[in-house]
Point group: C2
Chain length 126, copies 2
DNA sequence: AATATATTTGCAACCAAGTTGCATTAACGA
DNA sequence: TCGTTAATGCAACTTGGTTGCAAATATATT
C-alpha cells in the first residue's frame, strides 16, 4: 500500500467529486483540470481514490473510462451491482441506485456484473 | 445502403463466425487474419456485417470491441438484452442466452442495456 | 527552522485500438 | 471482355491510456 499524502492535486479532484453527483469521464476531467495538473497525475489520483474506495470506475460508450462517487462501496470491495446510465441526448452519466438481479448459472461463477443502460434522462425527456 | 459484393475477405470472416460459437475480439481477429487481409478491411467488414444483422458488437474488459454471431437479431434491430460473459481465467467471451430484466424508471427511458458478466466459465471451474 | 527521505508530479515519449484519405485492385453487370 | 463502382491496402493519423525518470514537494526528525 502506498502512503497517502494530502496534496493540492488530490484535494482538487476530491472536491470536484464532492460537489458533483453525476459521473465524470476521465477525458472530461483531464480537460477540466488542464492548467491545474498533468493528465498523468489525474489518472494516478483517480486510481488511488478508487483503491481507497472513495470512487469507482466503469466503462461508458466506446469503452471510455468513467468515475463516480461511491455511496455504498468500501475499500477493497465495491458493491458494483448497480447499473450506470448514459443519456444518449445530453451525454450525462450517472449511477442508478437500483439493484439488478443477475440469475445464477449452473455451470458458471459470476463475480462481477457491469451494466450500462442507455436512454433519455429526466431533463431530456421533455 | 452500400451495395454488397461477395468478396474473398468477406467470406473468410463469415466462415470464421460460422465455425465458432464464442465471441471474437477485433484484436484477435486482426491478428488471426494477418496475411489474409489488412486490419482496416477487418474493421470495415465487421461493421458491415453488424449493419446487416449478421453479427453484433459489444465492449469487453478495457473497452475492447468484441463481435459475436447473432441468433435472434434482425437487421436494424438487435435484440440486445442478453448478457455477455467473460471468463477471467481463460479469457473466453460468449453470449448467454438469458434475458435479464431491466426495471422501468419513472423519469427515464431506457433504450439499450449492455451487460457484461465476469467470472469463471465451465471449463475453468474445475 | 533546516534537513533528510520518500512520495507526488510533470514531462515526454510511448503503446495500442481504432479511423481516415486516397490510390489501386477486384467484383460483377452489360 | 470491358467499364463501372465497390472493396481493399497502405500509411498516416487520432485518441485514450501508460511508463520511466528527473524534479518538486510533503512530512518526520533533529
Amino acid at each position: 500500500m502506498s502512503i497517502k499524502r494530502k496534496t493540492k492535486s488530490l484535494s482538487i479532484i476530491l472536491s470536484i467529486f464532492e460537489n458533483r453527483d453525476a459521473a465524470l469521464s476521465v477525458v472530461d476531467l483531464v480537460e477540466e483540470l488542464k492548467g491545474d495538473m498533468n493528465k498523468t497525475t489525474v489518472y494516478r489520483i483517480l486510481e488511488r481514490l478508487e483503491n481507497e474506495g472513495t470512487i469507482h470506475s466503469f466503462s461508458g460508450t466506446n469503452g471510455l473510462k468513467w468515475y463516480a462517487k461511491c455511496h455504498q462501496c468500501s475499500s477493497g470491495h465495491h458493491n458494483d451491482v448497480h447499473p450506470h446510465f448514459e443519456c444518449k441526448d445530453c451525454g450525462k452519466v450517472e449511477c442508478l441506485e437500483v439493484n439488478i438481479s443477475i440469475p445464477n448459472f449452473e455451470n458458471r461463477n459470476i463475480y462481477t456484473a457491469d451494466i450500462l443502460l442507455k436512454g433519455q434522462c429526466t431533463d431530456c425527456l421533455s
